[in-house]
Symmetry: C2
């Protein structure tokens, strides 16, 4: 089974928007074992949509068309599909009622142009869009199939997950349920990671194992399992996860939607500890990440970003002569506990560049960690990259260090 | 003149990497008036690269191929181009020396596989890559042209700017210099912006005017001018910028590479004022942005992100009963001045959600601004979106408010 992708929109060709939909679709298709070989972008032009779609259907069994289902005259995916099928568009009264009800719920009148969204090529099937006014479409052409889905990413994801992927699986005669689990790792390179789990990767049949590089957010090991029922598939995932965790150990920091910061907050909550942060080169990035998860306030008291040396001295009471040093990191972590009234204090100081500072090269970073019942600890690192990358790297590295220390407590 | 784009890489189809190159290329081509109608992605497969390239060349005058120029067996763009040209690959001794010298400069031995990067289809021209080991290629096919450039974004941008765009312009018989300037705006909708400068847009011939939506970073009005020399083109830009600024007024917050935070820091430096921040729902985001520009420490003292109410009371001395209120915003801004020893204090408090707080709905935000010689001011807003969007929106809104107040000072 081969399913290709066509993204529609002049704004994509002009670079006004980056097409992230086709990458997401590629990831989903790969996860369920469907090949995808050709992804295209064309503008809002009916003839070019028709031409691209027919060219793709020469080689692919299925094509997902993203975008061009909006209410304006520029939205031509419906018209292109009808032209390709050689049929007319017909207004669907149920869709008219549905779209009207969405506007009604928002207390607004439906502009007449939105009626275009109720037009369906004769013979095509409507795919419900619970998140917006643009319904999707499915059309059979001989033994092939075309899915048209909205270009708005969250609407696309919902519709593809609910309708398109199950339909594709059914068409491959696949009656199985396919589920995935992502183990997020931090702290090693892709090749080192691959080596650690080489025997699992070599042995893979079901579940399968894939690597996804997530840049500054680390590397993801994705496990995908197939089974007659969801419970059986989940059981396969759980067994494989256990094997992989055995090899990967503490490199795994979170699973699926969990993040480095949600994991840190979870570990703190377990002990009912409050966290305070003192930052320098990161200017508030560590605090901003810790405030991301809903409910962060149950364990995160706040951050003091002492960007200037005077603030380190006056507000945090840092006495160390060099503000990028082991002593400064220790003093800042303890100040975060004291000044913010926290149980755990973490701190970061370093040189983000562009120029070196007090003879310390760009990328030099000191982390401080103060945990109840243990001596305050300082750890140094030399981080690569430019100013922005060093600050992001420093942020996640500090959170990871705290995670490891909390997880290692008896 | 029509130039299409082919991005090569199985990792793009699998969604392991999002293709941002073709959007960037589309933007550049549009800016110099070259049409682009068809962008494609194919995997690391020689025959599929050849097939896509010949299909694109049926309609386009030029094609830019991105990626597949690396040193591994998977990098097949060179081979595909040779196959399309019907010629052999020949090792270029100058390239061998050049690639060897790059490894030498890094103090490393060159792996034998990197020699593949010195292979050139007979008759193709090498495009220098000052930033990496992958040289680019240009090949003429009858009256058409193919450019192969590396997939690494900063290498691609350098090579396209230096070699590809000028070559394309020369081929359209264009001997002019083309330059652009981006006016970044914040504070209005795309349709309102378009209305404000409708007469300039209607009258456009040279310079041309385009809108680019940059999401949470606002809307960009890009002016592009063409002239026989750079000086003349710059003069056209300057005249048009003046006209546009007349209509847009204080909506324009920065030009080209400047940002909201660099503009705020510049205005502070002009008066030699130091800035302190007190944040709540943003958790450190405001500080993190202010610490972004190099040299931020000349005007930015730091931020206190008082995520919990106790920190607002104990460290900032906030007495207001409701922590999301006009009184709290005023108290926090003045505390930022006092506690951080700053001339100017700004503050933000609000409800990021998911749940309402003290009866205030999600999205309610209060900004506080304390500037020497003026009464401390509080401004409220109701921001749309989810938790993440509300926090980002709040951050840039506060910085914009400070920018407007500083710019309005006598």
């Amino acid at each position: 089974m081969r399913c290709d992708v066509l993204a529609v929109g002049t704004e994509l060709l002009l670079g006004q928007i980056v097409d992230t939909n086709s990458a997401w679709l590629g990831e989903q298709l790969a996860a369920i074992g469907i090949d995808t070989y050709d992804h295209r972008k064309v503008g809002d032009n009916r003839d070019r949509i028709v031409a691209a779609l027919s060219a793709l259907l020469e080689h692919a069994d299925a094509v997902i068309v993203c975008g061009g289902l909006g209410p304006t005259q520029d939205d031509l995916t419906r018209d292109a599909l009808a032209a390709l099928m050689g049929v007319e568009l017909e207004r669907d009264p149920e869709l008219v009622t549905y779209i009207g009800s969405i506007f009604g719920a928002r207390g607004r009148d439906m502009p007449a142009s939105n009626l275009r969204q109720a037009d369906v090529p004769v013979g095509a099937t409507v795919l419900a869009n619970p998140m917006g006014t643009a319904p999707g479409l499915r059309a059979e052409l001989d033994d092939k199939v075309v899915y048209c889905v909205p270009g708005v990413p969250h609407e696309l994801r919902e519709m593809v997950t609910a309708h398109v992927l199950p339909d594709l699986l059914a068409r491959c005669g696949e009656e199985s349920v396919i589920v995935s689990r992502s183990l997020k790792t931090w702290g090693t390179s892709e090749s080192a990671l691959a080596e650690l789990i080489a025997d699992r990767v070599d042995a893979q049949t079901n579940p399968t194992i894939a690597f996804l590089a997530r840049g500054i957010e680390g590397l993801v090991v994705r496990i995908t399992a197939k089974a007659p029922t969801r419970d059986e598939a989940e059981a396969l995932l759980t067994t494989e996860e256990k094997e992989l965790r055995g090899a990967l150990g503490e490199l795994v920091f979170a699973v699926d939607d969990d993040t480095m910061e949600s994991e840190v907050l979870r570990l703190l909550l377990e002990r009912r500890w409050m966290l305070g942060v003192a930052e320098s080169l990161t200017g508030g990035l560590v605090g901003a990440r810790l405030a991301d998860p809903p409910g962060a306030s149950h364990a995160f008291r706040g951050t003091i970003a002492s960007y200037q040396t005077e603030v380190k001295r006056d507000l945090l009471g840092v006495m160390a002569e060099q503000v990028v040093s082991e002593e400064a990191a220790v003093e800042m972590a303890e100040a975060a506990q004291r000044v913010l009234g926290a149980d755990v204090g973490i701190a970061i100081t370093g040189v983000a560049g562009p120029a070196e500072q007090d003879g310390q090269p760009v990328g030099t970073v000191w982390f401080g960690i103060a945990i109840p019942g243990a001596p305050t600890e300082a750890v140094t690192a030399r981080l690569p990259g430019d100013r922005i990358r060093i600050r992001q790297f420093a942020t996640i590295s500090l959170l990871n260090l705290l995670r490891l220390r909390l997880a290692a407590l008896p």
